[in-house]
Chain length 119, copies 2
């Protein structure tokens, strides 16, 4: 029941594209992540995924369009929808998704897959 | 798959202690709420509950202590734990909890119970 300061948590790690767990609500995990550059196309067949931008700008690419998401804005990627996060400069985000959801989506792990670490 | 701007959503309502749904991840709802003053003691036997302060200051009262939560800070109240939110001045928060969880906890509805509205 201790509070979590997002700024302090963000300052405790530098690695990009490596989500860190900072809290949980039932079986759902709150993660912080820093991203910069491009990711891989992927989808989660059985899981929605929320992205809340804390600092910087996220561009969420879908196959048919792109959505720019700035600080204080969030987007939910519905289950089954292919997506690819991108950020021209470093972007800090809070993620929310069910425990066990892989950052690179369904299918076998790849070079960008990271198991989230609790911080 | 549209983005949600938290500031715009907050500016669209004034009522305090009435959570508004702004998004969902699977069966979990993201809600915005404005609070000021005192609430009622309650608990959710089967549900954790996350409070992320966006603006202002939350004091989360527990039976044995109080936790001050400021902007950019969050706290998870574990299932079963009695709690009572308080704010000396208006505080804007994002909540995360399973769909159907009552704002006043288990048991019959009372004068502070609100069914969340989607905005």
């Amino acid at each position: 029941m201790d509070k979590v300061n997002l700024r302090e948590k963000f300052s405790s790690f530098a690695e990009q594209w490596a989500p860190k767990i900072v809290g949980a609500v039932d079986d759902y995990e709150v993660k912080l992540v820093k991203i910069e550059g491009d990711f891989v196309w992927h989808r989660h067949a059985d899981a929605d995924e929320l992205f809340l931008v804390v600092e910087g700008r996220l561009r969420m690419d879908f196959r048919d369009r792109q959505v720019e998401v700035g600080p204080g804005e969030m987007i939910v990627v519905p289950r089954g929808v292919e997506h690819k996060p991108f950020a021209a400069q470093e972007c800090k985000m809070m993620l929310l998704e069910r425990r066990g959801v892989s950052n690179t989506g369904d299918g076998p792990a790849n070079a960008r897959t990271r198991a989230p670490e609790q911080i």
